[in-house]
């Protein structure tokens, strides 16, 4: 008898424990969910506060439109936003593309040539101390009102982070890794493609992500100074018409552009580059 009750007792304890683990698991999952979406929750909460506070404060729509009003406006003006967004997107991609096309070879020259490093690197750092935005009016003066000054500005802003992060990425390689592949008979070309480049990719992509965000700023600033199209231009238009809702809609479109480009790069990185600590 005692044995049986003892036995059933232990079963009871086990099921109790089983329930507890299920509860604990559920709790854990909820915690994971809240962690993953905490930023979203916060954003929604802030927007809700904004939505409720505007009518309460008695501010007119010309001063501060509500999030819903902005969202509705975006939905209604999608073709307009897209037509200007294309222009800005093109300027950003062209500027960033030039940054990559010139920045990567420049980084390689700086990395491989001591003379080049000594001559060009300090110059590049000095150049970086110039606020590029201040160049916008000058660029308009030389390059006119079209795409050229915006692309140039986006390029100038993008170049530095690309070059710095690529050079640092290449230089921070463990020298022993180079010895290892050389001991296997690798030439410099093989060393570069098998070791130097893959090891530098996380750094390079870090630079790319900073650069693309800055390119958006460059292009929009270029449009502020002088333009006939683009999201920056649309914003100025909205401003002069006291159309604050459209103004905010443009801001949202500019942010969306920057964030999308950032995540596209992030996605490409996840396909081509492995982070040091991630298992996969």
């Amino acid at each position: 008898m005692a044995r049986v009750s003892g036995f059933s007792g232990s079963v009871a304890v086990q099921t109790e424990r089983g329930k507890n683990t299920i509860k604990a698991k559920r709790k854990f999952r909820l915690q994971q969910l809240t962690e993953r979406f905490s930023a979203l929750f916060l954003a929604v909460a802030l927007l809700a506060v904004w939505q409720i506070a505007v009518p309460l404060s008695g501010l007119s729509e010309f001063i501060l439109p509500t999030p819903l009003a902005i969202a509705t406006r975006i939905a209604n003006e999608l073709p307009l936003l897209a037509s200007h967004g294309y222009i800005t997107l093109f300027e950003v991609l062209a500027g960033f593309g030039m940054g990559v096309a010139i920045g990567i070879p420049l980084s390689l020259l700086i990395f491989y040539s001591r003379a080049f490093e000594k001559a060009v690197y300090p110059l590049l750092v000095a150049l970086q101390t110039i606020p590029k935005v201040a160049l916008a009016p000058i660029l308009v003066l030389y390059l006119g009102y079209g795409w050229a000054p915006k692309i140039t500005l986006a390029f100038l802003i993008a170049l530095f982070p690309i070059v710095i992060s690529t050079v640092v990425g290449l230089q921070s390689l463990d020298k022993n890794l180079v010895n290892l592949v050389r001991s296997m008979g690798a030439n410099e070309m093989q060393t570069f493609f098998k070791v130097r480049l893959p090891a530098a990719l996380p750094n390079i992509f870090g630079g790319f992500k900073v650069a693309i965000s800055l390119s958006v700023i460059g292009a929009v600033i270029g449009e502020y100074v002088a333009a006939e199209r683009g999201l920056g231009y649309l914003q100025l238009q909205a401003n002069s018409l006291f159309d604050t809702t459209l103004n905010f809609a443009s801001v949202v479109a500019i942010s969306a552009l920057g964030v999308s480009l950032y995540f596209i790069l992030d996605f490409i990185e996840s396909k081509v580059a492995y982070k040091r600590d991630s298992a996969k």
């Binding site: 022993n176 001991s183 008979g185 098998k194 070791v195 893959p198 492995y274």
Partner: protein, 267 residues
């Protein structure tokens, strides 16, 4: 049947080998001073010496990574001037490429030499099995422990059946237990494969345990102070060897040299 066939160990002849490092900042460094050393085919030679005595330099010269200042090295009567396909190298850190799987890391030398990677894949698996890592081929280095990673590095060095295996303090970064196991396993592997091994270490006990010969080097400029033949039957058992007075005799002989040079201070 094992896919890994025994290798013919290489014969190494080092004659009047000298290395001077010329540096921009400071004076020239005489790292190795006219070293003479002949290594028989298939023998296991350990090199011990204090830090900075030129052990890594010796390895680097053998591997053809650093230009020789004077003297010469021949491996199977071929003069070493540049990296050589008869040599496999294992460094202190595993130097696995973290973006490649274990198998891809082991096959790196094959890829670099432009050989058929598919032909060597089975052999890579076989080597993994021999080091107790069967089935780990698709894992990434970050999923392995330090000891496992160094085992993979050893597989990578052995994939081309090198006549000469160079090891530069390969177990220096491992914890004591893992190190002991690795030492035992290296012996087993070497007995089976028969490569010539040059094993650099600062551990006197592991040098005596593993080697047929222990070369004791003096501090800068690097010279050979003692060439000690270790005469103990194989396979040697770590715990048993440590109870053997003959083993302790060898260890003492090496320690006495270090004490005489002031590298170890006796109290």
């Amino acid at each position: 049947m094992s896919a890994v066939s025994p290798t013919i160990g290489a014969e190494v002849d080092i004659a009047q080998l000298t290395k001077i490092y010329h540096t921009r900042e400071s004076e020239d460094v005489l790292a190795l001073d006219a070293i003479d050393l002949k290594i028989e085919r298939g023998s296991f030679v350990a090199v011990v010496g204090p830090s900075g005595c030129g052990k890594s330099t010796l390895l680097s010269l053998l591997a053809g990574l650093t230009p020789i200042s004077d003297g010469q090295i021949t491996i199977d009567s071929e003069r070493v001037a540049k990296p050589h396909s008869k040599i496999g190298v294992v460094f202190q850190s595993d130097l696995l490429l973290y973006w490649r799987t274990v198998i891809e890391n082991i096959l790196l030398p094959i890829e670099i030499k432009g050989l058929d990677v598919k032909k060597y894949a089975a052999k890579a698996e076989e080597l993994l099995k021999q080091v107790g890592l069967a089935g780990f081929g698709k894992k990434y280095p970050s999923e392995l422990s330090g000891g496992m990673r160094q085992r993979v590095a050893i597989c990578r060095a052995l994939i081309q059946e090198p006549g000469l295996l160079l090891m530069d303090e390969p177990f220096g970064a491992l914890d004591a237990l893992t190190r002991e196991q690795m030492i035992m396993d290296l012996q087993t592997m070497w007995v089976r494969l028969g490569n010539t091994v040059l094993f650099i270490t600062h551990g006197i006990d592991e040098a005596v345990f593993l080697a047929d010969r222990v070369i004791v080097m003096s501090p800068r400029p690097g010279r050979i102070d003692l060439d000690l033949k270790v005469d103990m039957p194989r396979p040697r058992q770590w715990s048993r060897v440590h109870e053997d007075p003959i083993f302790h005799g060898y260890v003492r002989q090496i320690r006495e040299i270090f004490e005489a040079k002031g590298i170890l201070v006796a109290h």
